[in-house]
Symmetry: C2
């Protein structure tokens, strides 16, 4: 998009591809999870890794409010600190080299809490706490489902790490992420994943407290488990990120409906290959990302599901392949409908597999009006580490 253009402008005037965000759906998605979290009486600490934009954070907390947030990079922490956020969990395992930036943020009055799961990391945090005179708070990552990092909730490793933090830094508690919930295939599986996350969280906190170690924070979260949890006993805070926008992966596992998808890529038809059943558009993997998160779901949506510019889905029309700046649309394998007539120059929306990955391909959101007629504003995104 030419950066000199101004807004509001017609949805048909901005150069394609661009990233469209429907603020009505965004607000509805936010309210849905906030209502759940309020019902549980826990702290809501939304993960800003999906949105990476202060304007989205303002929809979460109110235009002049800040709140507790989770971030995935120190650059995100610094960005949100610049906008007044003062309670930030950096939820990726820390490295010793990064502690200088953590301490610099803390000296600005930002309560940055870090994450770790090894004695080596705890020793580095202890050393940096001594050297800086600032006891750095940390959560210990607990593994609940074998998805990624984390210690068992019941073993001596947890106590070893906890004791180092408690003696030399601040042991603030434990954090779990039910990453395997993204692969659930039924509501019952999602409920079970949420139950498991809550139980392991409570167990980890109990392990620490039994030997007299503190555990004020018990943090859980993933968008699927956040929406299917029945009981959060022992949990003090909940994190989630993709819930704000939702995407085809979330729709595929039943966490949302297609009409909840707030994010799409607007693209223009640039050609046809009728003998192949292809429509070619000017959004390729550079716009959609290479994410194929629905590839192993019941319904494979290719690189995205195609809709009219107004947002009405063309059943079974998907982006079947991509080059850097070309997307190829075709009816999905086995579809009985025929290819719709979409002439050169017409604009379409593509709903993405994975909101985090697709939005990362863009520097800004184009905010579209309810009637899909006007771009009312542009919201910048941050990136990098």
């Amino acid at each position: 998009m030419n950066p000199t253009t101004s807004f509001p402008k017609a949805i048909h005037d901005a150069d394609t591809p661009y990233l469209a965000l429907d603020p009505g759906r965004l607000d509805r998605n936010i309210q849905r999870l906030k209502t759940r979290v309020e019902g549980f009486g826990v702290t809501f600490r939304p993960h800003m890794k999906t949105a990476k934009a202060v304007d989205v954070a303002r929809r979460l907390f109110g235009a002049n409010e800040t709140g507790p947030i989770t971030v995935s990079t120190l650059a995100e922490a610094e960005y949100f600190a610049d906008y007044g956020f003062r309670d930030i969990l950096y939820a990726v395992g820390i490295t010793a080299k990064k502690l200088d930036r953590v301490i610099a943020l803390r000296r600005r009055g930002v309560d940055v809490c870090i994450l770790l799961d090894s004695p080596e990391q705890a020793e580095a945090v202890a050393a940096a706490s001594h050297q800086s005179g600032d006891r750095i708070p940390a959560l210990i990552e607990i593994d609940c489902d074998g998805h990624r990092a984390g210690l068992p909730p019941d073993g001596s490793q947890l106590l070893d790490v906890g004791r180092v933090l408690n003696a030399h830094a601040v042991l603030r508690g434990v954090m779990l992420h039910a990453g395997e919930s993204y692969y659930c295939r039924s509501g019952a599986e999602l409920v079970a994943a949420a139950d498991n996350e809550q139980k392991k969280a409570a167990q980890a906190a109990e392990t620490l407290r039994l030997v007299g170690l503190p555990c004020p924070v018990v943090s859980v979260g993933s968008t699927p488990t956040a929406h299917f949890a029945r009981d959060l006993s022992g949990v003090t805070e909940l994190r989630a990120g993709v819930f704000m926008f939702f995407d085809l992966v979330m729709a595929g596992i039943g966490v949302c409906k297609l009409q909840d998808l707030a994010l799409s890529v607007v693209t223009t038809v640039i050609g046809h290959r009728p003998e192949k059943g292809w429509i070619i558009v000017d959004a390729g993997w550079m716009a959609m990302s290479r994410d194929r998160g629905t590839a192993n779901q019941t319904v494979d949506q290719g690189y995205g599901l195609v809709a009219s510019i107004e947002g009405t889905v063309f059943d079974d029309l998907v982006m079947v392949s991509t080059n850097q700046e070309h997307g190829i649309l075709a009816m999905r394998s086995g579809a009985t409908r025929s290819l719709p007539d979409l002439p050169v120059g017409i604009r379409l929306r593509i709903y993405p597999n994975h909101a985090c990955a697709t939005s990362a391909q863009f520097d800004r959101y184009h905010i579209i009006s309810d009637d899909a007629d006007t771009i009312t504003a542009v919201w910048p995104r941050m990136r990098g580490w």
Copy 2:
């Protein structure tokens, strides 16, 4: 990376993940293809979609020179025009809405040539040429292998489009891209793909010339066919992009060796899951991209092949899966070696599947010294549309 840091600095000091570029390998890769192109006596029009950085263009043409380039977005054209480039092919099918920006660039003295393959696009270019008083030059895209867009090299459609351009704009010639060459599995297949691209190019030019239409430019190109072409009779210019950096996909089809890979992501070990055979690092898909281009090759490299910080490959150690900011390293399925001992805090290089996709995840290149000791400079990248 903290933007306030200055260079040169030690390779161990920049915050991870960062994108490392080896300038010696870059120069060698450039020289290799330039020597081939000079041997053919055709114009070299490198594709800047991979590098998106003027500092890389300067390695191609010389510090104070510009040359003919190919770009994948109008933002790229505008960026390189700002650095003095005056001969630019925008090689993605045009839309009517984008012609304003093309005309604006042309008014700045930039010879922007566009691409199209339909009567609708040609009519839009004709109308814009009349309205602006500037006959816009265009190439007609020809399909040589069923990969993507383009018209057959021998049909009436080509003539129909050519006549509209010749009457109302400028018919500059034809362009082909042997995109299917990325899926070749032997040198013989690559030679055949290059031969086919050359033959279809010559045929398309002949189709136009036989009816008296001009075809001064006959443009072919893809990194695989550029390196395996034996004969470019009838061709006037060659395009390629990923050849500058190379990547695991190119190594997998035999266009380069692992020691030619100029681009890698530097990451830090942040944890271990010994019971799973996992090493966890701080580069996930946000750093590597979601590209899985080697998934269907003979050797699947996961999300990337792991090397020491100095660049020595750990045989069979690959990034088997990713989360947004976490990468999981493990020995590839069937490997007989055991997992190397890589403690928390150690830095590694990950060679990516696809240089275009991985570099797009970063805002800058970190230029590393030959001895992999120092970051000597940072080169910014552009992005967006």
